[in-house]
């Protein structure tokens, strides 16, 4: 990895950790900490940031793998990682369903089974189990890992282009995003009709952009042109989005254009959301925001969370559902909501610390398997 990439890697971990914290807070809707998250001040939210950084991390990690071990090695690693994610997804879905079932039984309220869209699992388990293992039934809040699994499977296809012909990759990927939006194409769901919450045909574009950025970082190449005009445009767009979201949502216009070009649609990553996350990235890359956050977070908790993104995300998914349910059952006042959310974050930090400690212990036990700095980072 080039020096520039090494210098930037900590920023990716930091922002990924920040995105994980925001995703967790947003998964407990309307709790008193929600105003601290980016979703309230723009068209995009932490999910876009997470996928963009996942693409950057994939570019950084897999390009090295590609250069060292060739396409076969990259394919093997991507398949292995996708299977890990698949296993994690099935596990957290099962845990969430069991927790919801327990609460429904304990409280004698059948409506609780409908939590986060789990209802079909209990109403029609035979069909829904098929949907779960084929990733075509995705309860709400547990719908980003299926996207990530497909994106990882696409890495071996995208990577040669990201390395050698990034413009072609962006053109093909952007073309697919446009065609999917234009035609309303989405991956199917089963047994219920509909499409994926995170339409892979649309969201792959953001991941591909991230991969191109990661591949450039890995080779020490500049990513964002140092153009004052671009920076000013990005800043203006971020400010415009904040104004719209804060006060004028009800006046959203209808224009003689396809909705995805001017409307908000998270599933299809409509243009305003896509532009917003990219504008935010330009602004964050130009301003010393990462340094400021790192200064505030002197213990390095965000970077710790970012390095352990998958287990932290999985734990956070289940904990967010648990916090939601406890908040409902306890009729929690605002201060208890804050306590529950902070306790959930504390558990995730402890988990990340434990994983770091376990890795260090393994390294000491088997010196030949000692991990290089940053080994914990995974795409």
């Amino acid at each position: 990895m080039a020096d520039a990439a090494r210098q930037r890697a900590w920023q990716i971990d930091l922002f990924r950790g920040l995105a994980l914290v925001m995703i967790f807070i947003n998964h407990v809707p309307d709790n008193p900490l929600v105003p601290l998250t980016s979703a309230n001040y723009g068209f995009s939210d932490a999910a876009e940031g997470f996928v963009l950084m996942a693409g950057i991390a994939a570019g950084l990690v897999y390009l090295r793998k590609y250069q060292q071990e060739g396409w076969g090695g990259t394919l093997a690693r991507a398949l292995q990682r996708a299977f890990e994610l698949y296993s994690a997804h099935i596990l957290i879905l099962l845990l969430a369903a069991a927790f919801v079932a327990w609460m429904a039984i304990a409280e004698g309220d059948e409506r609780l089974l409908g939590w986060i869209g789990l209802g079909p699992l209990f109403a029609d388990p035979a069909a829904t189990l098929l949907g779960i293992v084929t990733l075509t039934h995705q309860p709400h809040y547990l719908d980003i890992l299926p996207l990530y699994i497909l994106l990882l499977l696409a890495v071996p296809l995208m990577l040669p282009l990201a390395a050698r012909a990034p413009a072609l990759l962006l053109a093909l990927s952007g073309g697919l995003w446009f065609i999917a939006n234009w035609n309303g194409w989405n991956a199917p769901t089963f047994p219920a009709e509909g499409g994926w919450m995170f339409n892979p045909l649309a969201w792959q574009f953001l991941f591909a952009i991230g991969m191109v950025i990661g591949a450039r970082l890995a080779r020490g190449l500049p990513v964002v042109p140092r153009s004052n005009l671009l920076f000013a445009a990005a800043l203006a767009y971020v400010a415009f989005a904040a104004v719209v979201i804060l006060g004028f949502e009800e006046q959203w216009p209808t224009l003689p254009l396809p909705w995805f070009l001017y409307g908000l649609d998270k599933s299809f990553l409509s243009l305003p959301r896509l532009l917003h996350v990219l504008a935010l990235a330009v602004v964050l890359a130009r301003l010393p925001v990462a340094q400021a956050i790192a200064w505030l977070d002197r213990p390095g908790l965000l970077m710790l969370l970012g390095r352990r993104a998958l287990p932290v995300f999985c734990a956070g998914s289940v904990l967010a559902i648990a916090v939601q349910i406890w908040r409902f059952v306890l009729g929690a006042p605002w201060w208890l909501e804050v306590v529950l959310v902070l306790a959930g974050l504390a558990i995730q930090i402890l988990l990340a610390m434990l994983l770091d400690w376990a890795e260090r212990a393994r390294s000491r036990t088997v010196p030949t398997a000692a991990a290089p700095a940053g080994k914990g980072r995974t795409p």
Partner: protein
Amino acid sequence: MRGRAVLRLVALCAVLLLPAAPGVSASAPACPPVGPEAELSAPLPRFAQAVASGGPIEILTVGLGSMRAGGVEGPFAQAFREALARGLPGRTINITAVPTPGMVARDAADRVRRGVAEGEPVLVIWRTGLTDALAVTDPTRFGRIVQRAAAWVSAQNADLVLVDLAYAGSAYEPTYRRYVDALAEVGRVGEAAVFRRYAITEAWHRAGVAPQPMAASEACLAEALAAAILRRVAP
């Protein structure tokens, strides 16, 4: 105490197992009667005009479940479509179903807007409230989000029917009721009609006639909704 918990567990398991029969008809042969609470809270002028014009009728349903025959959330959506077709024989009724599984109103409102902008329906039926109640979102904010979406739908020349959540007689009814009240307030403002599913199921529950299993109850509610809509266009 433990005995009651076991009984509750057995009863809930029975409820969970019963509706699993695939291919069950969406129609509800023996629905309990409904009272005045089954009337819509406002007229549907655009829908009535579309029916009077004799042309195809475009309807958008959001959060109502799948339209696929035998679909897991089908009882409501299927029974609604069948009842509407029976009430308007020979008419072309195109129903576009937009699922919102587990989505709070804030996210579902984007689906409503996109569905209306692309499909240009004359009637939008949006079932909402349960997810927000379970997630304990701010009821005032919930009402404001729905109100904004209702005003927007109205500006697009479509009628909106809001379907609130179901009653189950649990200890948490005061929580659920806050969201029912928020939707009723949107109806009072006048840019949406409210179908008071909560009031209907509460009346059934209190009279001891609530259909079991839940799938049957949903089919009965869907028929009541279709009937309420059709009464609004009857000459």
